[in-house]
Symmetry: C2
Subunit: 567 residues, 2 copies
Amino acid sequence: MKYKTLFGKTVKNISSEIKTVSHKLLIKSGFIRESTAGRYFNLPLGMKVHNKVIDVIREQMNQAEAQEMITPVLHPIELWKETNRTVSVGFELTTLKDRRGTEFVLGGTAEEMFVEVVKQFNLSYRDLPFNLYQFSSKFRDELRVRGGLLRAREFTMKDAYSFDRDEKEFKKTYEKMKETYTKIFRLLGLETVIVEADNGYIGGEYCHEFQVLSDTGEDLLFYVKSLNKYFNREIAPSQAQKVASKDEIIKEKKDVLGEKIIGVEDLAKYLNIPVEKTTKTLLFEGSDNRLIAAAVRGGYDIDETKLRRIAKTSFLKLASADTIKELTGAEVGFLGPLNLPKKVEVFYDESTDSRMNFECGANKTDYHTINVNWDRDLPKPTKFYDIKVTKEGDIYPETGEKYEVFRGIEVGNIFQLGYHYSKLMNATFRDEDGTEKLYYMGCYGIGIGRAIATIVEKHHDDKGIIWPENSAPFKVELVLLNTEDENVTKVADNLYQKLRDSNVEVLFDDRADVSAGEKLKDADLLGIPYRVVVSKKTVAENKVEYKKRDEDKAILISEAEFIKKIS
Amino acid sequence: MKYKTLFGKTVKNISSEIKTVSHKLLIKSGFIRESTAGRYFNLPLGMKVHNKVIDVIREQMNQAEAQEMITPVLHPIELWKETNRTVSVGFELTTLKDRRGTEFVLGGTAEEMFVEVVKQFNLSYRDLPFNLYQFSSKFRDELRVRGGLLRAREFTMKDAYSFDRDEKEFKKTYEKMKETYTKIFRLLGLETVIVEADNGYIGGEYCHEFQVLSDTGEDLLFYVKSLNKYFNREIAPSQAQKVASKDEIIKEKKDVLGEKIIGVEDLAKYLNIPVEKTTKTLLFEGSDNRLIAAAVRGGYDIDETKLRRIAKTSFLKLASADTIKELTGAEVGFLGPLNLPKKVEVFYDESTDSRMNFECGANKTDYHTINVNWDRDLPKPTKFYDIKVTKEGDIYPETGEKYEVFRGIEVGNIFQLGYHYSKLMNATFRDEDGTEKLYYMGCYGIGIGRAIATIVEKHHDDKGIIWPENSAPFKVELVLLNTEDENVTKVADNLYQKLRDSNVEVLFDDRADVSAGEKLKDADLLGIPYRVVVSKKTVAENKVEYKKRDEDKAILISEAEFIKKIS
């Protein structure tokens, strides 16, 4: 196609608020454009990339014997109620009513819809296993969006749902999808690592993310080298480095006035003790009217997901200042495990162990207790837990080694769902023995826009994008300089026609009103893998100027050599 | 792929409420399944057809130099307010609010979105013309749905929007799209006629529909043979056949009691006059508090679209019984043009002309006036209009010939938009002379699901679907009979592998638990163009049994001959 008539050319000035590299490059080069925050137009160049990425995914999914289909975008809300997800997904969910008053959910994922359609067929073990996927618009009403296509509110997702006879069969499917995903991302120019992660509101018992290591990544990944195993921060088991010194003498416990001190750093400085000797205690309300206190050592935060699981409560809500005052008599900020009423269950993080002479809130407004010691002042709990947010420097408990920490972009995820949905929705098949059995399920997602942004994050230089061939909008960019010269123009036109005739996807920049420098700059920005320039100079030598986008040097070669190189 | 593991096999019993042939066949054969009314799952077979149809359209649109892109599904409502379409589209529009309170429209068409993204670029005449298209989910909250994919509430549509420098350039684009559409439908196995139609809420001055003649069609098409021209009923100019007899004697006008008579047929019988001598008069409220009466001769209905245009009112609303009583003193049902207050404007359809001794409502409860005659009783208007719903038997006024009438399914439409949207949204480009000019626009739609349903309407027999090759889910169905015979199975397996290796799309029915009869019946229902059977019998003769779906006779040929036939 001719760049002249392409809609969505390069843009010189873009908003200074756009910080992420991929966001910047995709806007500047005319691949995407923002509609409302978190919702994007794919311009013709972006659309070509989008379709290429879809082609790669579709081919690999089909090779893995998954079957493409599609569900409506509007899901009847009754289905989401069956699985309690109108509550658990919360505000990310968008709902609407049609003019007959029927309520729908704008699909963010589609577990319910796939289970529903499977239920409409009277299937037996002979029809199993199968894995169904779709490419469709997904909607997540994210509170904050960031980085252009990296986290959007509306995006195309490939989501797949597998239906197996039992766990054993499912495991084969799961492994097959692991391999398929690795291959898909490799074909797209993305090396991924497989990361154990939290399953969020999806359900099921375990899941894995496909992460591309990148400093732009939102996710913190904790790597156990000896096991070659990655954990997403949300679920990385954490053991704090020990801080106790054996030579330390047990000091006298006392309450110290510490008015208006906020934060453990300031407190440690004020008390002249290491941060590690301070203690952070928070009070939560849990299910069944439980009061749950959690304590971590200074420098850590409490991980509510971990705490919720350990405390076995279906929810956790930070207690209000009023509740704390009623309970302890003190204002918020001075809570500590000493002398708490019996009805409060206290969970101690393992980081609070192996300390002597430590600090706690005194449960008295403006006061802190220092030189607290286990057993003497506070009964040492029979069990310490891991309820803290894992951080750099932490140890993987099983092997005792320090984590390596990376940033990553999650480009895909796979979930074991087990019987979660089939049970809630009563979805069964007739097994060989004639009984009805629940499907054993999994689901598998890839966000197309995020994959594209990640490709750009990994493949660019300071001049622009460098598309890997499989996702490039065109294979070749043909640049004509000296448009005023009829003969040169004719040579370029002929080459353009020849490339098109051989089904080479080519973008032809024959603009008459644009300087050579600008055309070459635009070509670098667009990042099409192969560039070929036709100019007075090249025609005089009966050559073309050839350059790969990821190489520095352009070379003069014959047209025949050029055709060979790109074939 | 193997039919055994295909999700969405044939269905024996379907709801008796499903009447339309395409709806029935697509459900029975396992191509689609209903989610909620008017919203469908495309099952794997249906998805293959869907993707094939998209491929055909995409290729032709690209050949016509249109550029694919995509807009978000959620359109900011502000854009629709700019073009007054939140009002004019009315209840077919679905709106929603996100959790920040921002209001969106679920896109049914996307004129505003395309104009908006074009405005974001600072374009000049050099960038023109361009034609942008997308395939995306569209939402129309139809009051009634019918015929499965023929009229759905959620469906994939290819919509295109062209931007031209002026009307002259636009006309080229419009003609190109006319040709492209004709070609697309022909490739899909659909012969279309081009029909002048109403532009509905889209805007612009004229538009054309691509209609497939079919008795299942919702649309009535009026054909002028001498001009080879079709009109959609909504806009077909209509001239009623004359009914006056020159020998008739003018009779005495009188009021006749006609209690509880409803409808012109009963009235004509009661009065012992032909239906054509009765008159139907309706009262409307229009813009600027206008009162508008419209009269057509019995047997016709008033076409509000025509009346609205002729009366030059932005809306028309049937007056209430109270308004009529206040105006005439009579109950509703006895309205007539005699003695109406001056403030009522009366529009007469041309069908009311050329009559003598006709009937009108007497504007008196339960009374009709008979033997009314122009001039003697009622001043003959200086102008009669065409404000009736055109019906079979009517005459095309320009040539005086009787229309031929057909039923049609609208599979595509093209609209001249002119400056309608660019003016309302102030969308301009810099012209050669340096001034800013409005874009001259057009838009072009094809509903994918409706195209698929129409293909089935046109290509089926009493055994099932007969897919044209371009839209078939697979090219070949390979049916293995005698699965108990290892050798026969091996032959079929080999043939399956051979076909796959040569990239022939093949569906392989090697089910072990299904009778030969059922397999062949299923094959007919699915409608894959080429069927090849491998059985004990064929293997014994070293042949395969070959049959085209649209031919009656199966023939025994060698595998080599078969391969040649399908290549």
